[in-house]
């Protein structure tokens, strides 16, 4: 497609133009996936809110130290990984391949740190006898909602780290373009965005009230 042809399409999106949003198809696809995935998480959060409301003696086991401090640090790590990601996208559009790969690796390290800290937290809960179907404080659904929500989010982070690894490898070799980096960035920021809801709803609202 020649440049003038492309320009014509961009300027007349509603007269049969092929590109009404002026973005590439990969990006539109990722955005549509993000909308549908956000509804998955919304459904989980709403059902969590519902079962929590149905059970008056819902456990609130988290102490400020260490549980809330730990999850606050995890939030910090994830937010910082979003910053390195967005700077990586900028570097990619400037054509600086080396810098982009470095930023992507920094993002992956933050993502891995998040998963590892999260895993140690799960191990602590397991040792306290909290499982998806039982816990020492009554109301077994607590474990179901907690591990369901944080587990699905953790799965997203893990997939994201692998995804970024592939993109960093391909972009470093010149196989992928800056558009690929931007689309992987959209996914990564979405994972960060979901945590912005899970952290207050699951952790901060379950602070021990004493």
């Amino acid at each position: 497609m020649s440049e003038t042809e492309l320009e014509g399409i961009v300027e007349s999106p509603w007269s049969g133009g092929a590109s009404p949003f002026a973005i590439n198809s990969k990006k539109l696809g990722m955005w549509l996936f993000i909308v549908s995935d956000s509804l998955t998480f919304s459904a989980l959060l709403v059902s969590y809110a519902y079962v929590r409301l149905e059970n008056p003696n819902w456990p609130r086991p988290f102490e400020i130290w260490p549980a809330i401090a730990k999850s606050s640090f995890m939030t910090f790590v994830l937010l910082s990984s979003s910053l390195t990601m967005v700077l990586g996208v900028n570097a990619a559009f400037k054509g600086d391949r080396k810098k982009t790969v470095r930023y992507l690796i920094a993002t992956m390290i933050c993502g891995l740190a998040f998963v590892l800290i999260h895993a140690t937290e799960w191990m602590t809960l397991f040792s306290e006898g909290v499982t998806p179907w039982s816990n020492p404080w009554g109301t077994p659904l607590f474990g179901g909602t907690f591990f369901g929500l944080t587990g699905l989010h953790m799965l997203h982070v893990t997939i994201g780290v692998a995804y970024l690894g592939i993109i960093a490898w391909g972009f470093g070799k010149g196989k992928y373009t800056a558009d690929h980096v931007e689309v992987s960035g959209l996914y990564w920021h979405f994972v960060d965005l979901v945590w912005m809801f899970i952290f207050p709803m699951v952790y901060l609202l379950s602070v021990n009230p004493k």
Partner: protein, 109 residues
């Protein structure tokens, strides 16, 4: 948000400066700190839920507008994605609120 020419279509130029993104990051950290402070103070639970949801919505708007570049895209993309998503979430809440309000009134305080 008017687009002219090829540059805008392929995003040849990076959108947003390092300084801008650093500012957004600091705001997100600040809002998170406010949330943690609310939990630390153990404020009254209804007020706490309202404030936490409000702060989370502000944070997600910041992430979507700046980190996810939605502010730099055409308005059409925003109109395609966000209203539909909000509508679907509201449909879920239609099931949730009547019951939650009823239960809150039934429960002795």
């Amino acid at each position: 948000m008017s687009a002219h020419g090829n540059a805008e279509l392929t995003h040849e130029h990076p959108v947003g400066s390092t300084k801008l993104f650093a500012w957004v990051w600091m705001w997100l950290l600040l809002l998170t700190a406010v949330e943690v402070f609310l939990a630390y103070e153990r404020i009254e639970v209804h007020l706490m839920i309202t404030m936490l949801v409000g702060l989370s919505l502000i944070k997600s708007a910041l992430i979507m507008s700046y980190f996810m570049h939605l502010r730099f895209e055409r308005l059409g993309l925003f109109l395609l994605l966000v209203p539909a998503m909000v509508f679907c979430i509201c449909m879920m809440l239609i099931m949730f609120f009547p019951d939650s309000i009823r239960l809150m009134n039934l429960r002795p305080h």
